[in-house]
Structures are given as structure tokens and as C-alpha cells.
């Protein structure tokens, strides 16, 4: 991108270097964001699966408990 010049102004090199620095930082943040998102997705899915398995386990245990309680009652 070209920037206009004036009689008294900033040094072009300094401005370009600073803008480049900001753009690089932004790009690295962006890639970090995508990386973390992917990592989190994977971890979360694993935990979700684990949670579902625990739910199923609990469900069957409760069923077993109900059955035992029923037998004891009768």
C-alpha cells in the first residue's frame, strides 16, 4: 500500500516496519486461534464421549439398583 508524502512526515521505513509487525502479530494470533480451536474441539469431543459413556454406565447401574430394590421389596 502506498502512503502519501508531505513536507514534514514520518520516516517511511519506521512506519512500514511497524505496520508489518502488527500484521505479522495479527496473522500469528489468527493461526493460534485456529490451532487452539481445533485442539479444543478434539479434547471436548473426547470428554463428551466419556460423559456419554458415564451416563450409560450410571443408567444401567440405576437399573440394576431398581431391580435389586424391587426384589428386596417383593
Amino acid at each position: 500500500m502506498r502512503t502519501r508524502r508531505s513536507l514534514v512526515g514520518y520516516r517511511a521505513k519506521e512506519v512500514s516496519r511497524y505496520v508489518h509487525l502488527l500484521e505479522t502479530a495479527q496473522e500469528s494470533l489468527q493461526s493460534l486461534l485456529e490451532k487452539e480451536e481445533a485442539e479444543f474441539k478434539q479434547i471436548y469431543e473426547e470428554k463428551w464421549e466419556h460423559s456419554l459413556a458415564l451416563r450409560e454406565q450410571l443408567k444401567s447401574l440405576l437399573q440394576q439398583e431398581r431391580q435389586l430394590a424391587g426384589e428386596a421389596g417383593s
Binding site: R4, V8, G9, Y18, V19
Partner: protein, 804 residues
């Protein structure tokens, strides 16, 4: 743009460069905040799923244990059946049925067990959860998978519970007579029935809230007040809806509320949390506990940093700004150069400026005092007008009482607050205790305080000041109006009503009403007599004069009543200013709000020991110095904001108060040197006109200052005589002749204040209270009650503890 670039001829256009840099900076900031937001969301989701897994694992363990127990019972039953096969059966089905009929009011849990819907162990597990976190038992049983909703419905009672009063009577929590009495109170003073019942101590808060929860078909908070929250709502949202998330069950959040949420609000919260919520009702004190646990850091930050962050130009966090330091350095350099160039001429110029300052300040101050003595300078109400006020229209009133190591004045404080003629159901008294003040805290916690008292422990952090404590107390204040009282204060019983009458009489821009302060121990010693004279002049004449003139009012430390909304709008008190009251008076004026004086007094204890008095006065003077420095950071801006008259008033009240006691010693020394030894150099300071000006100030000025103190005391005596309350003796007047000794003490305090301003600007010099043990007759005189009914009996123990 933070980055600074060097300039050069023929460089890139500054505006275009800035545009380019700002665009890149914007993209960078957006990326950064997106990352932060994503991390925060992921953290919440992670916590939630972890919590869910933990909860499921816990339930699995518990279920395993119950199954083991069932198997054990089954084996034991088999063995027992084999052993007792020959014994006759003691409990026949008919006997069980008879037993059940003997217990007509069976609880839901028992019925579910009897009907085989759940086991005893399951019920115990659910009850343990309920005790810990709260909620309705039925909901917990469903959530834990012990029962299906359709199986539970037949056991649920009538959902329409009726009116609260009827529920309380039918459940035996109160009698019909008590309900009738409470309803009569409500008819007279308004307010909620629950609050009336609590104020009359007819029911305990826990019982009342249980019934309110039943009425609204929601649960109560758990007895253990456990807090195990995976998510925190943003503090602003929590404050708006008055809720705190306290626990996550597998499929829902448990949310503590102080009043049940509407369906619409509950839906909004559920949308925000992305899970259903279950409301559990918490009492006021329980909510305060949760709030402190969950939002303690936010509250602390708000009470210490909010003003400094949002309005740094109004905060004393920075004592001297760079321009102020630069200006002082330049002024000092000019003075030194002047002294080198022409020593006597420079001193003469300085003296002329000082004399003009003295003269102007004196004239202005007397003008204010004259205005203050006129009719209408304060708002006055007759007893009949106050009695005619409809109590049903009175709003909730918050009373903040900051305390520090003042356990011995607590019985007196409670009596004084109980004496206030205001519906107790509409009071919100907040006792603010510092974290390290265990004695006061333990004493308060051991007392059975009425429900409208809240004990708030202010976290230990710097600055440890009264305004910080007040800001902390203000955050969750419920009142429409708020007032500060010190622990030893004895406000006139009708003060709150008089203030409301004043607010109603004043235009909308009046946001603060200052009551008059005076001392109940005026005759204790010479110091208290002088102090009483000074306060009488200040509050009876000077402040009403300022109000009349409409210039900024430096508020007194206590008994200033505010509209709570305005106080919050201004970010309340500056925790870094040691006379936060005076500073707030100026800020109110800057924002276009006004202050009025009401003819109602609060009786305080005058400092009776010299060292203690100097500590207190040095703090006040230092605070005035801070206030002047804060608002004079940009004198032109201040002039624009408050106008010429306000600017002048500001200088008279805020600059002259610390400056004159600092200057006085120089002139006293000169006077002594002249009258004692006729030093030749002294006349060189007072040539011609300046001599006459200084003479007028010396004779007429000093006379008028003393006279104004006398006038102030006479004013009080006269008013109290009319009200048939003889508190002050006329003999108080003669001590005014010795006021110059008091001025010397003021100068000592001013020098200390100036030194502290540089070395310890935020240090709060503690004042010892409780040095005066009032006679019963004296108290009775003040309150108008017979001696035996009056206030308190001073508790034993050591007198005097430091206070804010």
C-alpha cells in the same frame, strides 16, 4: 496510536500514516480479543464438561455403594428369614396400614419409599445433595435418575399455594394474631409483608424464605451454603438480576435468587448459560455471602479503582501531576531568583499577595456567614409536618456505618439506629467492618441483629480508608437514598423523614442533603468547647450560607444523605482522598447537582485529647489539600465547569482552610517579635497601605472570626431552647476568647498534614472515639427520653478505640 515515529523532511504524510497504522492496529486488536473470547468460552465449556464428568463419577460411586448395601441387606434378609422361620410375625400388613393411618401428614420422600418408587438410600443421597446445595427434593430425585417425572407428579401437592400470610399461618410459623398485627403495620407503613414480619421479629428469615419458596414453587438454598460453581455470570448481569450461580447438576444450573425471577428473566439467563436453571431462594445474608465468595474481587476492585479508572481526573490516586510539579518548580525558582536579586522587595511582594489573600478570604467568608444567618438558608420542618407524612410512601433507606475497632460503641450505635423514626421494614443498615477487626466482627455476629442489618466485611487491601469501605457497602445497597453515620453518631430521630421531606421540596438537581453536626460532649474540657464552637459556626452558619450562595459545599464526614442513583453515577467516594466527603461535594457541584442543608442534627463525640485532635485535624487538612490539588489540575477547566462564583467559593473553602493555618505562624512570630523587641526589619514588610490592611485583618478579622464562633453557638442554644432541648450552656461562649490557642493547634495539624501529603498521601490517621462516657441525664436531654429509657449504658472495657 502508541508508537511514536521520528519526523523527517519529505516523509510519509502524518495523517495517512496514522490511518494506515490504526487500521493494522484495529485488525490486531480484533484478533487479540477474538482469541481471548475463544479462550474464555473454551474455559467455560471445559469447566462445565469436567464438572459434569465429576458429578457423573460421583453418582456412579454412590450407586455402587447403594447396590452393595442392597445386596448386603438381601443376604442378611435371607439369613434372617431362615433363622426366624418359626417365630410369629410381629408386624402384620394390617398393623402397617394402621401405623400409616396414624401418620396422616407423611412427607413426599417417605411416601415414595413406601410405594417402592425409590429406596431409603436413594432418598438419603438426594437429601444430602439438597442439604448441600439446595433445590426441591423432587427435582433432585429426577435429576439423579431415581425417578421419572411422570412417577413423581402424583406425589406433588397443589401448585397454587395462595397468599403468604395464609401459608405462614396454616404451616404454624406465625399465629393469626401475629398476621393481623403485621398486616396492620403494613397498612400503616407499607412495605412487603415478609419484611414487616421480620422487622417485628415474628419469624426467622430462614423460615420465611422457605415459605416464600414454597409459595413460588421453587426450592430453598442448601443448609450448608456450599458453593461449587463451574461458571460465573458476568458481574453486571448477576447484579441486574440479583442472582448467583452456585452449582451445576448434570442437566441444569442451580441459581441463588433473593426474589423469584420472572419467566422472561429466567429464559434470558438460561439462554446466557446455555442450560436450564433451577432457582433456589436465599435470604439477604445468604446472598451477601455468595456474592462475596463469587464476586469479591470485582467488588473490591469497584470500591478501590472505579473512580480512578473511569474518571482519573477526579481521583486523588495521583497526588501531584507533572504540570503541577512543574509549576511549583517554576514558582520556587522565580522566588529564589527574586530573593537573590532583591531580597526585601521579593518578600514584600509575597507579603502583599498573602495579605490580599487573607483580606479577600475573610470578606468572602463573612459574607457567607451573613447569608447563612438569614431565614431560608436551611430547610426547616415542624413536628406536625413530619408526623403528617404518609409512611407508606417512604422509600427504602440505606444507612452505611463504617467502623474500625469500635466494638465498645456498638450497643450505643444500635440504640441510636433503633431510635430512628422510620419504618424498620424499609431500612437497609449496612455495618461495614474491616477484615482485621475481629473483635467488632465477632461481637456483631454474636448478636441477634434485626433482619435489616447487614454485616459486611470489607476485604483487607490498600487504601484502607473509610471511603473504600463506603464504596464497598454501596455496591449492593437497596435504598433509594443513602446516608453515612459514624458508629458514635446520634442522629435526631426524625432526620430521615426530614431529609425525604427536603428532597421532595427541592428541585430534581438537589442530590444531597447535609444534616448539621454538633457535639454532645461540649463541656468535657476546653478542647471540646472550642471544637463545639467551631462546628456550630461551620454547620449552623457557614454551610447554610454556602447553600444560599450556591457555591460548592465541602460535605461533612457523616449525615450526608444522597440519592443513591446519583451517587453511583458519580462513582461514589474517592478511596484515595482522606476527606472524601469534601471532595464529593465538589464533584456533585461540578456535575450540576446541588446540596441543601436540613435543620436536623447529628450529635457526635468531640475529640477531647490534643494528640488525637491533631491527628484528626491533620487528616482533614491533608484531605482538603488533596481535594484542591485534584480539582485544580486544570484551573481553566474548573472555572468553565463551576463558573466564577463557584471557583471563588472553591478557593475560599478548599484552599483557605489548609493554607491559612500554614501561613498564620509566620505572622504570629512577626507580631511577637515586633511587640516584644521592635525588630527593625518587620516594618519593611508592612509599608503604608499594607500596614492598614494587615491591621484590619489583625483586629477586625480576628474579632470577627471569634465572633462568628460565638454566633454559631448562640444560634444552636437559641434553637434548642425553642425546642426545649437544653444541651449547651451559655458559659460555652466565654471560652471563645481563648480561641487563638485553638488556632495554634490548627497550625500544628496543618504542618503535619503538609508533610504527610508528600510522604503518606493516602494514610488515614485514625481517630479514637469513646473517650467520653455520657451521663444518662445528658443522653436523656439529647433524646428527649426519660433517663432510664435513654440510649445505652456504656459497656465496660477500655474506652477509646480508633475509628475512621
Amino acid at each position: 496510536m502508541n508508537k511514536r515515529f521520528k519526523l523527517r523532511l519529505g516523509g510519509l504524510s502524518i495523517r495517512a500514516s496514522k490511518r494506515r497504522v490504526n487500521l493494522a492496529l484495529k485488525h490486531y486488536t480484533e484478533a487479540k480479543s477474538a482469541l481471548e473470547q475463544q479462550r474464555a468460552e473454551q474455559l467455560t465449556l471445559n469447566k462445565r464438561i469436567d464438572n459434569e464428568i465429576n458429578e457423573l463419577q460421583l453418582r456412579i460411586e454412590e450407586t455402587h455403594a447403594r447396590i452393595a448395601q442392597l445386596e448386603h441387606q438381601r443376604l442378611a434378609a435371607v439369613a434372617s428369614a431362615a433363622a426366624s422361620a418359626s417365630l410369629p410375625n410381629a408386624a402384620t400388613p394390617a398393623a402397617v396400614a394402621a401405623n400409616q393411618q396414624a401418620q396422616p401428614l407423611r412427607r413426599m420422600g417417605d411416601m415414595l419409599i413406601d410405594d417402592g418408587k425409590i429406596t431409603q438410600d436413594q432418598l438419603q443421597t438426594a437429601i444430602a445433595r439438597q442439604r448441600r446445595y439446595g433445590g426441591r427434593l423432587g427435582d433432585i430425585l429426577i435429576d439423579m435418575g431415581f425417578i421419572q417425572p411422570e412417577d413423581l407428579n402424583p406425589y406433588l401437592g397443589n401448585q397454587d399455594k395462595g397468599r403468604l400470610g395464609d401459608i405462614l399461618v396454616s404451616s404454624g410459623k406465625i399465629t393469626q394474631e401475629q398476621l393481623d398485627k403485621a398486616l396492620a403495620f403494613q397498612q400503616k407503613s407499607g412495605g412487603l409483608l415478609g419484611d414487616v414480619l421480620l422487622s417485628l421479629k415474628m419469624i426467622e428469615p430462614g423460615d420465611l424464605y422457605r415459605m416464600i419458596a414454597t409459595q413460588n414453587n421453587i426450592g430453598r438454598i442448601g443448609q450448608e451454603l456450599s458453593l461449587d460453581t463451574p461458571v460465573r455470570l458476568p458481574e453486571s448481569v448477576a447484579r441486574e438480576y440479583e442472582i448467583v450461580v452456585i452449582h451445576q447438576y448434570v442437566n441444569r444450573y442451580l441459581v441463588a435468587v433473593s426474589t423469584p425471577l420472572s419467566e422472561e428473566d429466567a429464559s434470558k439467563i438460561e439462554a446466557l448459560l446455555q442450560l436450564p436453571i433451577e432457582q433456589v431462594l436465599a435470604t439477604k445474608d445468604e446472598m451477601e455471602y455468595f456474592w462475596r465468595e463469587v464476586y469479591g474481587s470485582e467488588m473490591l476492585h469497584e470500591s478501590t479503582r472505579r473512580l480512578a479508572d473511569e474518571q482519573p481526573h477526579n481521583s486523588a490516586h495521583t497526588t501531584f501531576t507533572r504540570p503541577q510539579l512543574g509549576f511549583t518548580a517554576v514558582l520556587g525558582a522565580v522566588l529564589v531568583i527574586g530573593l537573590i536579586w532583591s531580597f526585601w522587595a521579593t518578600l514584600l511582594i509575597v507579603n502583599i499577595l498573602i495579605q490580599l489573600f487573607y483580606f479577600t478570604m475573610s470578606i468572602f467568608k463573612f459574607w457567607i456567614i451573613l447569608l447563612g444567618s438569614r431565614e431560608g438558608a436551611q430547610f426547616r420542618f415542624t413536628d406536625e409536618e413530619i408526623q403528617a407524612m404518609d409512611e407508606r410512601e417512604l422509600p427504602i433507606y440505606t444507612i452505611l456505618v463504617p467502623m474500625y475497632k469500635e466494638a465498645q460503641v456498638i450497643p450505643q450505635l444500635l440504640t441510636n439506629l433503633e431510635n430512628l423514626d422510620y419504618p424498620k421494614a424499609k431500612l437497609d443498615v449496612r455495618l461495614l467492618i474491616e477484615e482485621d477487626d475481629t473483635e467488632t466482627r465477632e461481637l456483631l455476629q454474636s448478636m441477634d441483629l434485626p433482619f435489616y442489618y447487614t454485616i459486611l466485611v470489607v476485604p483487607d487491601s490498600l487504601p484502607k480508608t473509610k471511603p473504600k469501605a463506603c464504596n464497598y457497602g454501596l455496591i449492593r445497597a437497596r435504598g433509594e437514598y443513602v446516608v453515612i453515620y459514624d458508629a458514635e453518631d446520634r442522629p435526631d430521630p426524625d432526620q430521615l423523614k426530614k431529609v425525604i421531606a427536603t428532597f421532595r421540596k427541592c428541585p430534581e438537581e438537589f442530590a444531597c442533603i447535609q444534616a448539621k453536626l454538633n457535639y454532645f460532649n461540649s463541656t468535657q474540657n476546653w478542647l471540646t468547647r472550642w471544637f463545639t464552637q467551631e462546628y456550630s459556626m461551620w454547620f449552623e452558619l457557614l454551610l447554610p450560607g454556602i447553600m444560599r450562595l450556591d457555591v460548592p459545599i465541602p460535605l461533612g464526614g457523616t449525615s450526608n444523605h444522597f440519592k443513591l442513583s446519583v451517587l453511583k453515577e458519580l462513582n461514589a467516594w474517592d478511596p484515595y482522598n482522606v476527606t472524601e466527603d469534601a471532595d464529593l461535594g465538589i464533584r456533585l457541584y461540578k456535575h450540576g447537582y446541588k446540596t441543601a442543608i436540613v435543620d436536623s442534627r447529628t450529635w457526635e463525640e468531640a475529640n477531647s485529647r490534643v494528640g488525637n485532635w491533631i491527628r484528626q485535624r491533620s487528616r482533614w487538612i491533608k484531605g482538603y489539600m488533596q481535594t484542591w490539588l485534584v480539582h485544580m489540575r486544570n484551573p481553566f477547566k474548573l472555572w468553565r465547569e463551576i463558573g466564577a462564583k463557584g471557583f471563588m467559593g472553591f478557593q475560599v473553602m478548599i484552599l483557605a482552610t489548609p493554607l491559612l493555618p500554614l501561613l498564620n505562624p509566620f505572622f504570629w512570630v512577626m507580631m511577637i517579635l515586633w511587640f516584644g523587641w521592635h525588630f527593625d526589619f518587620i516594618p519593611r514588610f508592612f509599608p503604608g497601605t499594607i500596614y492598614y490592611l494587615a491591621s484590619v485583618e489583625l483586629y477586625a478579622g480576628n474579632f470577627l472570626f471569634i465572633f462568628s464562633n460565638v454566633a454559631g453557638v448562640y444560634w444552636v442554644i437559641h434553637e434548642l431552647e425553642q425546642k426545649r432541648q437544653q444541651v449547651f450552656s451559655y458559659s460555652l461562649v466565654r471560652y471563645a476568647l481563648l480561641t487563638p490557642i485553638y488556632w495554634v493547634m490548627m497550625s500544628i495539624a496543618a504542618v503535619k498534614a503538609a508533610w504527610q501529603l508528600i510522604t503518606k498521601p493516602f494514610y488515614w490517621e485514625k481517630t479514637v472515639h469513646g473517650l467520653h462516657a455520657p451521663e444518662e441525664a445528658e443522653l436523656a436531654e439529647l433524646t428527649g427520653l426519660p433517663a432510664e429509657d435513654s440510649l445505652i449504658h456504656q459497656p465496660g472495657g477500655k474506652p477509646g478505640t480508633p475509628s475512621m
